[in-house]
Symmetry: C2
């Protein structure tokens, strides 16, 4: 089979043995595996040919792009890994139509830079954007810090090109904003983590680059007061809040301890710290000549300072200050590292239930350890919290116990055990015990229908049925 793979992609692009090292473990280095080979096709046709060969040989294929996923979605023991890294062309940027046509291996930050030249943005943004690639962003429906305004990755995609498990190329590269011609396959393949096919290309939406940003760190009385601040800012700016990120006292303290040169956002320490950023989508200026959005942010904060809901606020006066605020937020993964192993939960609840669910989780975890170490950071505007916790004795059993506690609490509020990171293999147990059984059965039926040989990224997303192997 190796020879046949070489015939398709060329000798240099079939990696084996030590050359596979960087493909043989996940981003967080929690698991490792040995693929049969790693192939690096240069075109959709080559991907198709590789998948057809694998299908004929009933051999598993595992697609990989930036490999920055947090749920071990690319484990590939004995499988042919298909790395999309050479499919890194931005095929087209059409500023007037506000679209970019890209291959799956384009690095997210490269796309962001390329469209910046046209005064446009591709809004998706998160810590790993210098490594993460569009194919993986789509396959995991990546979230990040701008979802509040622009939506998840699926909301940023108009069309797809996918190689199906039988090797056929499905071209649904639509540029259309309306298309009701049958089942919406685009949304099915987005977020399927490569288990239904390999995304090789996409038509992505671009947006006008905000004319100005107003960015601030704000200390607020409570989480409900923070949500009230968000609502007031949305009303005052016409829904232009781009980010609304919650960092509790523990996050700030840990950041100060772990990151060299880190500075506190305020002189005093507060419980509820919010990074807020508003993007001005209009050219409107205030009478004093500043962007209207800055004046609006200041005015809203000033009124809430007066009534006591806002306790303190610092507005970034320049790009350096803005960058420092963002660097603190984006250090979330980094500041967890020294405390590993932790249980890392990625939970979603209705936005107005965040305080209640965090309180409940805290109370329940203290029943097994009265002094847990916790790092929380939340996309508060989306109802999405990253909850990392370390208790005494972090054995596998203890981790399971803590995970179940968190899930119990989240489900009581109608929440999800996976907000933006996906399932991979890491959250298969949660999927098995928490996902609606009828929905799970429907997913199994769809997987079986599109991939009857179960060769396409097998063992991810959908847990094996109890009773089956």
């Amino acid at each position: 089979m190796l020879e046949q793979l070489k015939a398709i992609v060329g000798d240099a692009n079939v990696l084996t043995a030590a050359d596979m090292a960087k493909y043989s473990h996940d981003w967080m280095n929690t698991e490792s595996w040995t693929p049969l080979a790693v192939v690096r096709p240069a075109s959709t046709e080559e991907v198709s040919a590789v998948v057809k060969l694998a299908s004929a040989n009933k051999t598993a294929v595992v697609p990989v792009s930036g490999n920055t996923g947090l749920c071990v979605g690319t484990s590939a023991e004995g499988a042919v890994m298909i790395s999309l890294e050479r499919m890194n062309k931005i095929r087209e940027i059409r500023p007037e139509a506000r679209i970019a046509v890209v291959e799956a291996g384009v690095v997210l930050s490269n796309l962001r830079e390329a469209v910046d030249d046209h005064s446009l943005i591709f809004p998706l943004t998160f810590g790993a954007q210098g490594s993460a690639m569009i194919g993986g962003n789509l396959s995991t429906n990546a979230g990040g810090s701008n979802v509040l305004r622009y939506g998840n990755t699926r909301d940023l995609c108009l069309g797809l090109e996918v190689v199906l498990p039988n090797g056929e190329i499905m071209n649904i590269m639509s540029e259309l904003h309306k298309d009701n011609s049958g089942y919406n396959l685009k949304h099915l393949f987005i977020g399927a983590e490569g288990t239904l096919g390999i995304i090789t290309g996409a038509v992505l939406k671009l947006f006008p680059k905000p004319r100005a940003y107003a960015t601030a760190m704000v200390a607020v009385k409570s989480l409900p007061a923070a949500l009230d601040l968000l609502a007031k800012l949305q009303a005052a700016t016409g829904g232009s809040v781009e980010a609304f990120e919650y960092m509790p006292r523990g996050f700030i303290d840990t950041h100060l301890k772990v990151v060299k040169g880190a500075r506190a956002p305020f002189e005093e320490h507060y419980d509820v710290n919010i990074l807020v950023e508003v993007g001005a989508s209009s050219d409107a200026l205030a009478p004093d000549g500043r962007p209207a959005v800055s004046v609006t942010l200041e005015g809203t904060l000033a009124a809430l300072l007066e009534c006591g809901d806002v306790l303190d606020a610092v507005i970034a006066q320049n790009e350096v200050q803005r960058r420092e605020m963002w660097a603190r937020r984006e250090a979330a993964a980094e500041i967890c590292m020294p405390f590993m192993p932790m249980v890392s939960a990625d939970i979603a609840v209705p936005t107005d239930k965040m305080e209640a669910v965090l309180d409940m989780i805290d109370g329940e975890i203290r029943k097994i350890d009265p002094d847990p170490f916790v790092i929380i950071v939340a996309h508060l505007g989306d109802g999405n919290a990253h909850y990392a916790v370390k208790t005494a004795n972090m054995t596998a059993e203890r981790k399971d116990e803590v995970t179940e506690i968190i899930e119990d609490c989240v489900l009581k509020f109608g929440g999800s055990f996976s907000a933006e990171h996906g399932i991979g293999t890491y959250k298969l147990p949660s999927m098995a015990r928490r996902k609606n059984k009828t929905a799970l059965a429907a997913m199994r039926a769809i997987k079986q229908a599109l991939d009857p040989q179960n060769i396409m990224n097998p063992g991810k997303v959908i847990p094996e049925e109890r009773g089956s192997i």
Copy 2:
């Protein structure tokens, strides 16, 4: 089976014979059929029981709500029709979370009125909203005039309750803005036109009611000039344009002829007439105390009048004038009626290709009839045109010929033969000859997997394979 149905929903809610009259034809009265019975369940559990019974008897079931579809999606010869009309409860409106939880039989305009009391809107709006119901809106992924700002129906839905072809109830009634726990089934069932299951309930997104509207009729030099106006308005208002509706000269002329008391939008007659509406999502006021949005609209139009791109403009000074503008636009279906039969196409192209595709269609149709009668109205901001045309000799063959001409032109620009109306049975031939074959095969596999007996609204959306029955 009738007795068993009565046992589930009660005698009064199993209709037969003449009582089925209003369920036995489509909205446009182009087709009629005789169901086995029409049942009117009052709850999701009753829907489930009816589907289980039908499944055991291998009898087709056809869901129907407002029955205002334009593609004959509810034909039900010999089938059990399940009317959702009694499931008309708004279960919950939660203003602070901006959601409504509704049953499938809620009439769209009733929901719009109910949330208005909370200064919120459910943005979906189109001519038939006084009859159309949420279940049908979701099943057809209805579009309408506000898609430009708020998206299609699928963008307005957070969660669903669905009765599957085996009668099981799938509860994915999420209120979450982020949920990456497996395949996105919500988007698969939305737009499936009841062929994969029956939507019985939904969690819908609500939006703040605009503080003010600025509405105008604008005569523009050309379609590219109209798109430039749209871009300038979006930049000036931060993307607050709610509607941007194109009515060419022929539409205005026909409207004047057909509708009693109709008035022309301008003293002169122009080729390119646009209804534009901007919603103020902020409280901003201009120095003279008027809503800033009105001043912005006036200013943008004034600048374009000066440079000659805009030829004329009338801004609504009050709600009566605004209503008159909308009434003209919403008379589109009415003014086609006297000219039936026509070929009614619902096409989408990339927004910047609208002029080219309309020109091409016009040229091609004139080759078979040098003087066709055409009524066009377009959601220009979405790239979606409703193109109704009557040529000499409107035989079935001629209609097919004209349809194929339109499809040929649309596909040359990467467009779709169904933008917002769906497929039903009316567009099965287009689906068979125009849809990507690999995508069609994937849809067939999914349908077969979820509905192996093919009892759920059979014969819609997915054309039979050539060679099969």
